[in-house]
């Protein structure tokens, strides 16, 4: 391995195996060492390599972990929609209208395409693909417990609700995963493009449900009819989506890690432009709509676990 490659690999380790909270100080430390001169490189090597082991209980993920997660979500979606369309033996097609069916076909085909994209990236990296899981979208784990959605294979309304929840949670979890792959531009772009594709699908499923009479917007809104918390995992899917507080770190000299700033949506920003103006509460509901919140991987894997046995 040549010297440049070694350093590039260290940089990768730094950004991909560390929790975001830990990454910045470590990068700053590396920067200082770099300025002090290359004589310190052996020390840099040791400290960079030993850090991940001390990362504690924070969610830390490698690029492989991230790829396996997004592949798992795409595969689950592919199976859910394939069964609804009657493409899987033993699961007759749901009574969807022709227009509804055409939309679901688009979603199903793009899920399958993304399974292929992620599988390729995983095997290109020398890892092996996991065995295909067994699914039970009623949530009964193959009849071993009370079903959460007993009529999902016959009732389009139930299927569309589950489809929306699975998409909305995927959108949230993609956001948190980008932190773990930032050192890899190609993978970052792949995740971003997959993330917005998921959001398009979620929007369409919501539009379909609204056309069927459900009070739900195409974007996640505090005004949406609440989704029944059939399990603790489902209850987590929209938790924290109704807040209006957004914060960021003002950029320090290195573009990282300055002071934490809260965006003054509730005080000074002139965002209430309606005629007549909305109530203070109503405009903050719009702020909540305008930002989709990230969620940790476990929020999505817990939902996936409901339908896998």
């Amino acid at each position: 391995m040549d010297f440049l490659n070694l350093l590039a690999r260290l940089a990768d380790l730094d950004s991909t195996t560390a929790a975001p909270q830990l990454a910045a100080p470590r990068r700053a430390a590396l920067g200082r060492l770099g300025q002090a001169g290359t004589a310190l490189l052996p020390g840099l090597l040791l400290s960079a390599l030993s850090q991940p082991a001390t990362a504690g209980t924070l969610d830390t993920r490698t690029r492989l972990d991230v790829l396996l997660l997004v592949r798992q979500l795409a595969a689950l979606g592919n199976e859910l929609h394939s069964r609804a369309l009657g493409l899987v033996a033993g699961y007759p097609a749901l009574p969807l209208t022709a227009t509804e069916k055409a939309g679901i076909q688009v979603i199903q085909q793009q899920e399958a395409q993304r399974v292929t994209v992620f599988s390729q990236l995983i095997t290109d990296g020398g890892a092996t693909l996991p065995a295909t899981p067994r699914y039970d979208f009623t949530g009964s784990r193959n009849g071993t417990q009370t079903a959460l959605y007993p009529d999902i294979q016959t009732n389009p309304a139930t299927y569309l609700l589950v489809a929306q929840v699975v998409k909305d949670v995927a959108v949230r979890v993609y956001k948190s995963q980008v932190d773990f792959v930032r050192a890899d531009a190609y993978l970052t772009e792949t995740l971003l493009r997959s993330h917005s594709a998921e959001a398009r699908h979620a929007s369409h499923l919501r539009t379909m449900r609204r056309q069927r009479g459900v009070a739900v917007k195409s974007w996640v809104s505090p005004d949406d009819a609440p989704v029944a918390a059939t399990s603790p995992a489902i209850a987590k899917v929209y938790e924290g989506e109704s807040g209006f507080i957004q914060t960021y770190n003002a950029s320090g000299a290195n573009g990282q890690g300055g002071a934490l700033v809260s965006v003054p949506f509730d005080s000074t920003l002139p965002i209430n432009v309606a005629t007549p103006p909305l109530s203070a509460e109503a405009i903050l509901r719009k702020v909540a709509e305008a930002f989709d919140e990230p969620a940790d991987a476990i929020v999505a894997t817990n939902v996936a676990a409901l339908f896998t046995y």
Binding site: A8, G34, L192, H195, W219, N254
Partner: protein, 242 residues
């Protein structure tokens, strides 16, 4: 497993850049010089008539956020125009949706302006830029949704291309929170313009090894697509170096 994207060109490019940042004090200081340039060039602001001038986006987060700020300004302006004078065939649901999207875009506009502070590109302007929507037919429902579709798809592609260029991770997190809402807007307005077109082959790559992935635009492509709407010359070349 650390080599997953070794075969990709952009993966290799980023590796090199990361290397420079980690190991090179020289590289770090030249980045600072760029950061110090602010968002503007020597002759950055539009002329007093709003019809001349050049807007140069700097090669840093300030440049990126000024571009997303401009996109939000344009979209807020478009939705406001439609809300103020709705097409005669608009339903109550259409109006409600456009009001929502107008409010979201105003929220984005003011959010970016707040983050940028005095670095916002129009800080010194006495009158805000006037955008030119004459290429759109905003007097019909179909035309209004088609205009919204063009801009929402453009915004999604722009955001997907800008994400990896941001240095400040907290900005990227906010950008991602906004991106998915923009994609939801895009899918909604596409479905209204043409049923089931929410993820059509003009935005989601239909075949090949990127099949299933959404649209992505470089900053230069974004500037070119925005050009007809904006009364100044947009120069996003610096963002291409990020």
């Amino acid at each position: 497993m650390a080599d997953l994207a070794d075969t990709s060109f952009s993966g290799r490019a980023l590796r090199r850049r990361t290397f420079l940042r980690v190991a090179g004090a020289t590289a770090a200081s030249s980045a600072l010089v760029l950061a110090g340039c602010g968002n503007d060039d020597d002759d950055p602001t539009p002329g007093p008539d709003g019809g001349t001038g050049t807007l140069v986006f700097a090669a840093n987060d300030t440049g990126i956020l000024n571009l997303t700020y401009l996109v939000a300004q344009i979209q807020a302006s478009l939705y406001q125009k439609v809300v103020t004078a709705p097409p005669s065939d608009f339903t109550a649901a259409d109006t409600a949706a456009f009001v929502d999207m107008r409010d979201h875009e105003v929220i984005y506009r003011e959010f970016y302006k707040s983050v940028l502070g005095t670095s916002v590109y129009d800080n010194g302007l006495t009158t805000a830029l006037e955008f030119n929507f004459t290429t759109y037919t905003l007097t019909t429902r179909k035309g209004a949704y088609e205009a919204a579709r063009t801009l929402e798809d453009l915004a999604v592609g722009a955001y997907n291309g800008l994400g990896r260029r941001l240095a400040n991770s907290s900005y990227l997190r906010l950008l991602l929170k906004i991106t998915s809402v923009k994609a939801r807007h895009a899918a909604f307005v596409r479905d209204q313009a043409e049923p089931n077109s929410f993820a059509g082959p003009d935005v989601i790559t239909p075949t090949g090894n990127q099949a299933g992935l959404d649209t992505i635009k470089t900053p230069a492509e974004v500037a070119k697509l925005l050009a007809p709407l904006v009364p100044v010359v947009l120069v996003a070349d610096n963002l291409m170096t990020l």
